[in-house]
């Protein structure tokens, strides 16, 4: 039985034990304990990766895998509730961390198999003290509402749940009664709270009394819990570093309450494993405000036994400077993590890898069961998306919905509508993808800049194509944002990630019905590279010419340079030029039109079916001209991520390369090896590598 996510076995496996099982001590989806990998000190696991790599999906799956078996909480730093205080609540008594702690405690409190609710008396009193900073006797209903929510964290349910409810309303009335007409609010509230706890009539009275004295260790409290809470409240209100200090204490209170729930023989005999806290978008304020105190406390020797899994957008963060770095496959058996001295060394940064071709195959097969999936489609999907889980998932969904409607190529799957939810109207798949990969504005600008190859060309595009206020600074800002969000950079492309670039270019093409913007963008770039004196400017220019559907210049260039250029760079020029997007014109309704009947004629050209109609220039070697032309179209077709590679074209590619190798005795071995490797690589969806140039251009030049 396969449950969970594809390609995340290193995390979810039970045999051999995956990372989650080794840290939590419980098998995912099962209530069975297993040995810990880090019995004493735990790493704070941070999943790193760009958008669409499935970090949120991993966290959701972790929650589902452990829900009901061990206390588990999931928050997302980007949720709206952490963005700002609710209406009417003063900002001085509210912070994202406080809100996050409340949310987390509410989720952790849920009963699990074998054990009842967890009470959070320490956190309750701390949060009440903080909230009291924003109370006055004028808005009693709000106070009642806030106090009730906080006090309910203390409810341990069990048989006395009705009793606990009465206890909460009793304490709330007591708190409200303690508000004097004008005087200070905080001290009486704290006093009333501690009194209610010390009375020992609430749920689990002994626990409450013990918890009531916890704040006497607050710095400068002098052993007086009431003074400790007053200091905490004033620190919180002061803001800045003082607030950070207070928040750290609140986080510690949560962890102390959790530890309390696991302390003692009776408690331990009811509970298995460790509690799990999941923090999505940990780079946001709410997430950082939780992570940093935990890391600092752990570095200071204040241990806790909570398993933290966080998700970080991008691969680096200032708070994680010294974190150990691994990829997910590396931690499949053991993490090899050793805590250092600095707080950030307590974190373990685990980069999520993209899906493998096999994962893609399984995922597509799983989604589109019962459909006749073209055999090349899974591999082509993987080639296009680079294994992005989001891309593969949406494409597979699109395939499920659109294959029966007659869609054949990946391009068609991208432009076809996909309904993400049953009740939604469909939207074009590429738009759906872009909304998720590039949320938060500047999509239009990025769409234009996707055609650029570097900062210079991007600035030129911005100057010509975009509004004046965007300018070079906008380009730099976008470039930085791409890096921050974890998008890979690649030489020769402004948008390094091939999948994102393909989607953006598709959007650029479909921007307006007559593709005027598409053409003008490419023209701008042709002009930019036309007068440049860079050695590579020719290939950039021809790349864009080709994108505009004009292969003749490229053919001429390749034909003329073939005899005298180094074979390796010639092949790399060929591949680069042929990586031009192929978007033929179509009418506003999406129907193809144009000189060639609108159909993709690259295969026809590559197979030589149009050779008869060709008139090579007189002065040139007609055979070579036609051969280069066929070769260019073959590579163009085979490396186009939006269409399925044609096996006949790949055969032809082999033949053409063999023939070429006969013409160039010096470059013979390279051409020969290319003739062996390229056809199979193309069919398998792998990028075409320049023989003898093993690593560098593998990704970049496509």
């Amino acid at each position: 039985m396969h449950r969970g996510l594809h390609g995340r076995g290193a995390l979810f496996d039970t045999d051999p034990p995956g990372l989650a099982l080794r840290l939590v001590g419980l098998r995912p989806y099962q209530l069975r304990s297993s040995p810990y990998e880090h019995p004493k000190e735990l790493p704070f696991v941070v999943f790193a990766g760009g958008r669409g790599l499935g970090k949120s999906a991993v966290l959701r799956e972790l929650r589902d895998a452990y829900r009901g078996h061990t206390p588990v909480a999931l928050i997302d730093g980007e949720e709206r509730q952490f963005a700002g205080p609710p209406a009417e609540r003063p900002a001085e008594s509210w912070s994202p961390v406080g809100q996050a702690l409340t949310t987390i405690a509410e989720q952790l409190a849920e009963p699990v198999t074998g054990a009842g609710r967890i009470g959070f008396p320490r956190l309750t009193s701390g949060l009440l003290a903080v909230a009291a900073g924003g109370w006055s006797d004028r808005d009693v209903p709000r106070i009642r509402q806030e106090a009730e929510r906080i006090l309910l964290l203390n409810e341990t349910g069990s048989w006395l749940s009705g009793f606990a409810g009465r206890w909460v309303s009793k304490v709330v009335s007591k708190l409200i009664a303690s508000l004097s007409g004008t005087g200070p609010v905080i001290a009486p509230i704290i006093e009333a709270t501690l009194e209610a706890f010390a009375e020992g009539i609430g749920p689990a009275p002994r626990r409450l009394r013990r918890a009531a004295t916890w704040y006497r260790d607050y710095p400068n409290a002098g052993g007086n819990p009431k003074l400790g809470l007053i200091l905490l409240s004033s620190h919180f209100r002061a803001g800045g570093d003082s607030r950070t200090h207070a928040e750290r204490y609140l986080v510690r209170a949560l962890l102390a309450d959790l530890d309390d729930a696991y302390a003692g023989v009776m408690q331990r005999s009811h509970r298995l494993g460790r509690p799990v806290v999941l923090i999505d978008n940990v780079q946001e304020r709410a997430g950082l405000g939780l992570m940093e105190p935990v890391l600092r406390d752990r570095a200071d020797g204040i241990a806790d036994h909570v398993v933290f899994f966080a998700a970080l957008r991008g691969y680096t963060h200032g708070a994680l400077r010294n974190a150990s770095r691994r990829t997910l496959p590396e931690v499949a058996r053991h993490t090899g993590w050793e805590p250092g001295t600095s707080p950030s060394s307590r974190a373990l940064l685990v980069a999520l890898p993209p899906l493998t071709p096999d994962d893609t195959l399984h995922l597509v097969g799983g989604v589109s069961q019962g459909l006749a999936v073209p055999p090349q489609l899974p591999h082509a999907t993987h080639r296009l998306s680079g294994g992005s889980p989001l891309g593969v998932t949406l494409l597979a969904e699109s395939a499920r919905q659109n294959l029966p409607q007659g869609a054949k190529s990946l391009g068609e799957l991208l432009t076809s509508d996909v309904a993400v939810h049953e009740d939604n109207d469909g939207r074009p798949t590429y738009q759906e993808l872009l909304d998720r990969l590039v949320p938060g504005g500047r999509l239009d600008e990025l769409t234009v800049l996707a055609a650029a190859h570097d900062r210079d060309s991007a600035c030129v595009l911005a100057e010509v194509q975009l509004s004046d206020d965007f300018g070079a600074s906008g380009v730099l800002a976008l470039e930085e944002r791409l890096t921050e969000e974890g998008w890979t950079s690649a030489a020769g492309q402004f948008v390094g990630d091939p999948f994102l670039r393909a989607l953006l270019l598709l959007r650029l093409h479909h921007d307006d019905p007559d593709h005027a913007r598409w053409r003008s963008v490419h023209r701008t770039l042709i002009d930019h590279y036309g007068d440049g004196d860079q050695p590579d400017s020719a290939r950039y220019r021809l790349h864009h010419e080709l994108a505009l559907g004009k292969p003749d210049l490229a053919v001429a260039h390749l034909r003329d340079t073939f005899p005298r250029t180094d074979t390796g760079s010639w092949l790399s020029s060929l591949v680069f030029i042929a990586s031009a997007p192929y978007y033929h014109a179509h009418d506003p309704d999406g129907r193809d039109f144009g000189g060639h009947g609108g159909h993709d004629d690259r295969a026809a050209v590559a197979l030589g079916r149009t050779d008869a109609a060709q008139q090579p220039p007189d002065s040139v070697d007609a055979v070579l001209h036609l051969r280069v032309r066929r070769l260019l179209h073959a590579v163009w077709q085979l490396t186009d991520p939006l269409v399925l590679p044609d096996p006949k074209v790949s055969d032809r590619l082999r033949f053409e390369l063999e023939q070429l190798s006969n013409l160039r005795p010096a470059g013979n071995p390279l051409l020969w090896r290319a003739s062996r490797e390229w056809p199979s690589d193309a069919l398998a969806g792998h990028p075409l590598r320049i023989p003898g140039d093993d690593d560098d251009n593998a990704n970049g030049d496509l």
Partner: protein, 514 residues
């Protein structure tokens, strides 16, 4: 199934608290199962504390100290009274005396017999414990049942032997009942284990000491005269001569019939007629086909000369009744016959199966020796060997036995003498026990049986309700009063006269001659 297994594996086993609870529950269930299984497979053979059903029998045998009445409703009152008296005793202040009787007897005769023994023994216990002089130790009475025919004597004797120690401190066994082979074995075993036995109604000569100068039952002291003594007393009373007497005897016999037969034969030496045997069923309380034999014997009797008017009967009471019934229908109904027999005749009184015609036959007289009779000392003129005053002690005790604190004891009947003789046997036991410990301490077991040879003389004899009990050196009663009674047409035992084995009452000193 798989889901149940997963549930057990994950939701129960993994959570330690639940695991321990489940294991405890499982252990308890398994224990209950094993216990239930064992209880189901094992028959509960216990009837009451100390009382069990032996394998292959539905009889409840053993020693009872509770209110269990062996399933016989007629015992219930007396057993409750005994239990009440026992419960009154302070721990450590008492010794135990067991009453060995066939409590599970099935026929009415034996049951009545046992009831009377029970009542007599209890009255003596009550009297001993409520003695105004406060003599010690106190007496606790328990009931020992070897089975209706004594088949399980071994079991009961083993149990009794186990009670000599501990808090029970068994010091004597009284009763014993009839002189049967099983009872003889039981007495043999008890005495060989050093437990004193006081026989109330055993009369067989070979169930006594002093046979040919040997003491095969050390510590045995019968209260009743032996068959020989009875026969001697009978002979001295009836002036039986060999010329006019005719002997009918039990061919297989038991110790009682055999010794009675031997005593009778000694008197009939040189008789004109051969003695007539009969063969009863193995269980002599069963009817069997012995009546046919008696019909023929009756026929033979009619053929004897008219001078033959005395029939000596050496047999048990069922056969005696059959014989009398046949005699009642004899062809020669103009002939006068007197049937003389031993103390088994006491069962005839009140026997419903006795033919009324035979009872009312004026020419047929049945006389027998009784072990005791309530009228004996009230009507007889003998000055020694017993006294009316001694008999009245029991009478007054009986007078208060109808209600608490003494009773109730159920219906009282004294005619058969069993109550009186059991009372005397218990008194002898108390004498032995207290004689062995003049200071009132608990006497040693061995010392009790050593007291019997000294029970004699003016001070040391027991002045029983049935007469003086003076024991000779072997522990046998010397010249014990033998009441001769006659069966009346109303089926009652009418006292005739006290007869004496020695021909005359003993002297006041009551010392057996050398």
């Amino acid at each position: 199934m798989a889901r149940l297994w997963t549930w057990l594996r994950e939701d129960v086993w993994e959570i330690r608290f639940r695991r321990y609870v489940a294991l405890t529950l499982a252990a308890v269930l398994a224990g209950l199962g094993v216990w239930g299984g064992m209880t189901a497979t094992k028959e509960n053979r216990s009837c009451a504390p100390g009382v069990v059903q032996p394998k292959g029998s539905d009889e409840c045998v053993g020693v009872s100290w509770t209110t269990y009445a062996f399933g016989r409703a007629q015992f219930a009152d007396t057993v409750r009274a005994i239990h009440r008296e026992n419960a009154r005793l302070a721990p450590g202040s008492y010794v135990t005396v067991a009453l060995l009787e066939p409590f599970t007897a099935t026929d009415a005769d034996n049951l009545a017999d046992v009831l009377h023994e029970l009542q007599g023994a209890y009255l003596a216990q009550y009297q001993a414990n409520h003695d105004t002089t406060g003599l010690k130790p106190k007496i606790r009475l328990v009931l020992a049942n070897p089975g209706s025919t004594g088949t399980y004597w071994q079991h009961t004797v083993d149990q009794l032997a186990g009670m000599t120690g501990g808090s029970d401190r068994l010091r004597a066994v009284t009763g014993v009942g009839l002189s049967t082979d099983n009872n003889k074995k039981a007495v043999k075993e008890l005495t060989s284990r050093g437990i004193p036995v006081i026989g109330s109604s055993i009369t067989a000569d070979d169930l006594a000491n002093g046979q040919n100068g040997k003491d095969p039952f050390p510590g045995l002291a019968p209260v009743s005269p032996t068959n020989t003594d009875e026969a001697r007393a009978l002979a001295s009373f009836a002036k039986v001569s060999a010329a006019n007497a005719f002997l009918v005897y039990d061919r297989t016999g038991d110790p009682y019939t055999r010794t009675l037969q031997a005593s009778f034969e000694k008197m009939l030496t040189g008789s004109r007629y051969e003695a007539q045997p009969f063969t009863p069923p193995a269980d002599r309380s069963k009817e069997g086909s012995t009546s046919n034999v008696f019909m023929q014997i009756t026929n033979i009797l009619c053929n004897t000369p008219t001078t033959t008017n005395t029939i000596l009967f050496a047999g048990r009471h069922t056969q005696l009744r059959q014989f009398i019934n046949m005699l009642g229908q004899r062809g020669c109904h103009d002939r006068r016959f007197t049937v003389l027999t031993g103390d088994e005749g006491s069962y005839l009184a009140g026997d419903k199966d006795l033919d009324p015609a035979a009872l009312k036959d004026p020419l047929l007289t049945v006389r027998y020796t009784s072990l005791a009779h309530p009228d004996a000392w009230l009507k007889d003129t003998a000055k020694t060997g017993g006294s009316a005053a001694d008999a009245k002690v029991l009478q007054s005790l009986l007078g208060s036995a109808g209600k608490e604190p003494v009773g109730p004891l159920g219906p009282i009947a004294l005619d058969d003498g069993q109550l009186i003789i059991a009372y005397d046997a218990m008194r002898l036991a108390v004498r032995g026990i207290r004689g062995a410990s003049p200071t009132g301490r608990i006497p040693a077991l061995a010392d009790v049986g050593l007291q019997w040879p000294q029970v004699k003389g003016k001070e040391l004899r027991v002045n029983g309700a049935s007469g003086w009990i003076c024991l000779d050196a072997h522990g046998n009663p010397y010249d014990k009063a033998v009441p001769i009674v006659q069966l009346t047409p109303e089926s009652r035992a009418r006292f005739v006269k006290i007869a004496w084995p020695e021909g005359k009452p003993p002297a006041t000193a009551c010392l057996p001659p050398a």
